[in-house]
């Protein structure tokens, strides 16, 4: 933890108190690097070191904020930012409720999830990792793409209500490797998520990519006839589907505003299938958790669905203030969503392909460009991508051209779930969409759902 960041917080707090300003201060520092591959070359090798400061000022029921990209030497500039926030709040309009400002009871400084070796991994180590993972797999037609995203992330916060601070430092790496066919335009993918350097291992990626290439290069390809299929979702697809429930499912504020397929009547009801258990579990290190939320509330495991029974909405402080609910420790940059494992001992693609089957089964590892068609019904749409397989009843394998699924989450995770793998994997869903925020979900390796309709099937790759 950077001492200077803490002393700067103290200085800003003192400044605000002297000026009679009630304010919160939030630092986000990232030291990010990204090596991007395309057409078997490094198409971009970039790094950025950015320090963001967000100042939120309060005046009775009024609230306003000012944010800036700055550096720790620019304290005078930051103080101007405090005055700016205080100026905006004067002209704000009172909220219909009293917003809560946290009073931190103790100083929390946490860096157990920080590994300097991962944060500072060198250009040549990253390139070596990629070279090992695709050793011998590239050709004139098969091209490498993907990213090696890694970095350090610090968030630190304090406010005028107490002298205590909370600061969390993490390191992370997200690796995506894609092999694509130059002219046919199909792609296969494998990914890895790391919190420590020791989590990194190119060998499993090499195995998985080789296996998928074998099928994509040797098996026949075809347009999938429209109709209902048993579908096996891979980790990326499952993680993406579960993540949508953050928006249109168990988020209390979104529910109150009508954007959710869950309502208060669903509490305690069997909403999804009995195989589906979902917990926000900050004890799972792979999800890049912090021990406290931004209100200073200790993060504890929080059950959302227990064997399909809907247990609770999550409430952040602002929504709880507005709707008179109890906050649930969910003022977080990301949750730690964990889908409970099932009891099927099928955990690798090879095991899935070799397992006996009574009908054709569609394996969909990845859902591209998912969107909400009708949030109130949980209806989503998206296309398959990155290495789907059609596992024929007779044991053979066909490469399917991409298909579109337009389905309700209530069906996908409802009674139609036949089984889930007994093993889990962390799937990294980070996106550097403004500020580094490493995020991962833990999901079963496979989720097998019966009788889901395909609404569109491409006629070529």
């Amino acid at each position: 933890m950077n001492e200077k960041m803490l002393t700067t917080l103290q200085e800003l707090r003192k400044f605000a108190l002297n000026k009679g300003i009630t304010a919160e201060f939030f630092f986000h520092e990232e030291d990010s690097a990204l090596m991007r591959f395309a057409n078997s070359a490094i198409s971009l090798n970039t790094n950025e070191h950015l320090l963001r400061l967000e100042i939120t000022a309060y005046e009775d029921q009024k609230r306003a904020s000012f944010s800036m990209i700055t550096n720790l030497d620019a304290v005078e500039d930051m103080k101007q930012g405090v005055l700016q926030a205080a100026e905006i709040v004067k002209h704000a309009q009172p909220l219909s409720y009293q917003p809560t400002i946290p009073v931190y009871q103790e100083t929390i400084i946490e860096d157990f999830a920080f590994d300097p070796d991962l944060a500072g991994i060198s250009n040549s180590e990253k390139l070596d990792y990629f070279n090992q993972a695709v050793d011998g797999l590239e050709s004139d037609q098969i091209k490498l793409g993907g990213i090696y995203s890694s970095g350090k992330n610090v968030i630190a916060m304090m406010n005028t209500q107490s002298e205590h601070a909370q600061a969390f430092t993490t390191s992370d790496a997200q690796i995506t490797m894609v092999l694509s066919h130059k002219t046919l335009k199909w792609e296969v993918i494998d990914e890895q998520s790391a919190q420590k350097k020791a989590d990194l291992d190119p060998a499993p990626l090499h195995r998985q990519l080789s296996y998928l290439l074998g099928h994509y290069q040797n098996d026949p390809a075809e347009q999938v006839p429209l109709g209902e299929y048993d579908i096996v979702f891979g980790p990326a697809a499952t993680a993406e589907l579960v993540n949508t429930m953050n928006w249109i499912g168990f988020n209390g504020g979104m529910m109150k505003r009508g954007y959710s397929f869950l309502t208060e009547e669903h509490l305690g009801q069997q909403v999804l299938g009995e195989t589906f258990t979902l917990v926000d579990d900050p004890s799972r290190r792979e999800t890049f958790p912090f021990s406290r939320d931004m209100m200073g509330v200790r993060r504890e495991p929080f059950t959302l669905f227990d064997k399909g029974v809907f247990r609770a909405f999550t409430w952040n402080q602002d929504d709880a203030d507005e709707y008179g609910a109890q906050p649930t420790g969910h003022d977080v940059m990301h949750k730690s969503l964990v889908v409970g494992a099932g009891d099927e001992p099928i955990n690798t693609l090879e095991e899935l392909v070799n397992a006996p089957r009574e009908k054709d089964v569609l394996y969909i590892p990845f859902i591209h460009y998912m969107n909400f068609v009708n949030p109130s019904k949980g209806l989503i749409t998206g296309s398959s991508r990155f290495g789907a397989l059609l596992l024929k009843q007779d044991g053979s394998v066909v490469v399917p051209y991409n298909v579109r699924l337009t389905q309700s989450l209530l069906d996908i995770f409802g009674e139609k779930v036949a089984w889930m793998s007994d093993g889990q994997v962390a799937y990294n869903t980070s996106s550097s969409y403004g500020a580094r925020n490493p995020t991962a979900l833990v999901v079963p390796n496979f989720v097998y759902v019966k009788d889901l309709a395909i609404s569109h099937a491409n006629s070529s790759y």
């Binding site: 990010s32 990204l34 991007r36 395309a38 057409n39 070359a41 490094i42 198409s43 090798n45 970039t46 790094n47 950025e48 950015l50 009024k62 306003a64 904020s65 000012f66 944010s67 990209i69 550096n71 700016q84 926030a85 100026e87 905006i88 709040v89 004067k90 002209h91 704000a92 309009q93 909220l95 219909s96 250009n123 040549s124 390139l127 091209k143 793409g145 993907g146 694509s180 335009k185 009508g258 954007y259 602002d318 460009y369 969107n371 068609v373 009708n374 949030p375 109130s376 019904k377 749409t381 998206g382 296309s383 991508r385 991409n402 337009t406 550097s432 969409y433 609404s455 569109h456 790759y461």
Partner: protein, 484 residues
């Protein structure tokens, strides 16, 4: 600072780089105000400054960015070092299409700088609009104002020096209500760019009042409406959804980096190949599309791109035939070399970065459809036997090569034998891109053409959000599956 930047560019070039450029943002400011059901949920301002440096060395790019201007040497060295590593894995050595070195400046046209307007006045506007939307049937009302102002100074090793000062205003109104089944429906209004300027003066109270009343009225019609039937019909897309159709299945599909496979690991590719230029029948003869960065009042007009290439107006699709792409200096060289013929005559001036800490990539400018000869909206409806008029972008999902799509809209009006008969809810349509554009059977005239803006187009890794525009007439497509 100018001299220091130029000295650093000279230094990295003398250390072996073949090209270098720097974008210095002395200041970029934004201001977001959101009033949600009368609560001023967001009243925020932001300010940032910094520099991004791009260095081309032995056929590979290195990029580095920092908000700390006290160590320019370190910043340029890091960019060069990043390029040295990238040079260890090169498949097509990068070279840049020719361009003229320019010393120039660009300022977006605006009469009133929104940052000079007192917060009280802005909040007053939100309050007035919120009260206007507070009507029976409306459960959620969302009024937003976003303002951006940035100054960018561009320098490159070929002698270009460009200053840009850009101001943008993005307002919107939204209402939501629940139907008898407890399902949510929404209607939004984002104004088209009507005048020649893009400052605070575009917030026309009379227009917002009229349009606010309209979306409340239409929301209430949707709440009582029957569901959209599941069948094939002609779809008549108003600019409020046709802009997004164009964005997703012409704009993104014609970004040259996607066509060349540079986004295959993430955003996706394109069904278009280099062999298609000059040959592919993309749509019916009624389809003429262009990338026009010279429209005065749009966020897709910026004077000079981040390669330092001047804004242009280029045809993309000429009477249905694919003729052009959205390009920057790097990709046209690779495309021409790969195709072994000069498909592209230099950069089209569309390489842009969202911030100082991002690298420029091919981005849409204003991807427009030319007005047609099929008359007004009323004329098109009158000439439609069995159709549906659609408006409002509710959801969108597009295949990874932009070959197929599914859109949900906020409202639909069924058309039977030339007349609108009823409003329907949950209207959706889907299709295959080429089949769809080849079924384009009517394009509205100038009276139907509107310039829409997009303020949140995402692309690239690390992610970049870009602002751009679409000038779009009413378009009709035949035999389209709706209601799924």
């Amino acid at each position: 600072m100018h001299q220091q930047i130029k000295a650093q560019i000279d230094r990295v070039v003398s250390s072996g780089a073949v090209y270098a450029d720097a974008r210095w943002y002395p200041v970029e400011e934004a201001n977001h105000l959101t009033m949600w059901n009368g609560n001023l949920k967001h009243a925020s301002a932001s300010r940032e400054s910094g520099m991004g440096v791009r260095v081309l060395h032995q056929g590979a790019w290195g990029f580095s960015a920092s908000s700390d201007m006290n160590n320019l040497t370190g910043l340029f060295d890091k960019a060069l070092d990043n390029a040295r590593t990238a040079a260890e894995r090169v498949t097509f050595p990068i070279r840049l299409a020719e361009k003229d070195a320019v010393q120039a400046s660009f300022s977006s046209p605006n009469q009133i700088d929104p940052f000079t307007i007192p917060y009280g006045e802005k909040v007053g506007f939100l309050k007035e609009m919120d009260q206007l939307l507070d009507q029976p049937g409306v459960t959620q009302r969302i009024v937003r104002l976003t303002f951006m102002r940035k100054q960018i100074l561009y320098f490159d090793s070929e002698g270009s020096e460009i200053e840009k000062n850009i101001i943008e205003v993005f307002p919107s109104l939204g209402v939501m209500g629940m139907d008898a089944d407890g399902a949510a429906h929404e209607r939004t209004f984002r104004p088209s760019r009507l005048g020649d300027t893009r400052g605070w003066e575009t917030i026309d109270q009379t227009l917002f009042t009229r349009e606010g009343e309209r979306i409340v009225r239409e929301l209430n019609q949707v709440l009582k409406a029957e569901p959209c039937p599941k069948e094939d019909r002609s779809v008549i897309l108003l600019p409020g959804i046709m802009f997004l159709q164009t964005h997703e299945t012409i704009g993104h599909a014609l970004e040259l980096d996607r066509i060349l496979g540079y986004e295959l690991a993430f955003a996706g590719g394109s069904f278009v190949t280099l062999g298609d230029f000059g040959n592919l029948r993309y749509g019916s003869e009624k389809l003429t599309a262009r990338a026009n960065a010279t429209v005065t009042n749009s966020p897709g007009s910026f004077g000079y791109d981040d390669d330092g290439v001047p804004a242009q107006d280029n045809l993309l699709i000429d009477k249905g035939i694919l003729v052009g792409a959205i390009t920057g200096r790097q990709m046209v060289e690779e495309a021409n070399a790969t195709a072994r013929k000069p498909i592209f005559q230099g950069s089209s001036g569309a390489n842009r970065a969202t911030a100082f800490y991002r690298v420029p990539i091919e981005r849409m400018t204003n991807i427009n459809i030319d007005p047609g000869t099929d008359g007004t909206l009323e004329d098109i409806i009158k000439n439609t036997e069995k159709g549906i008029v659609l408006d409002g972008d509710k959801s969108w999902s597009i295949g990874s090569n932009r070959e197929q799509f599914h859109f949900a809209t906020e409202i639909g009006w069924l058309v039977e034998e030339g007349e609108i008969t009823q409003v329907v809810k949950n209207a959706t349509y889907k299709g295959d891109t080429l089949k769809f554009y080849n079924a384009l059977s009517a394009v509205g005239d100038e009276s139907t053409w509107e310039l829409k803006y997009v303020d949140n187009c995402g692309k690239g890794q690390p992610s970049q959000i870009m602002q751009l525009g679409h000038g779009i007439p009413v378009c009709r497509f035949d035999d389209v599956r709706i209601g799924e």
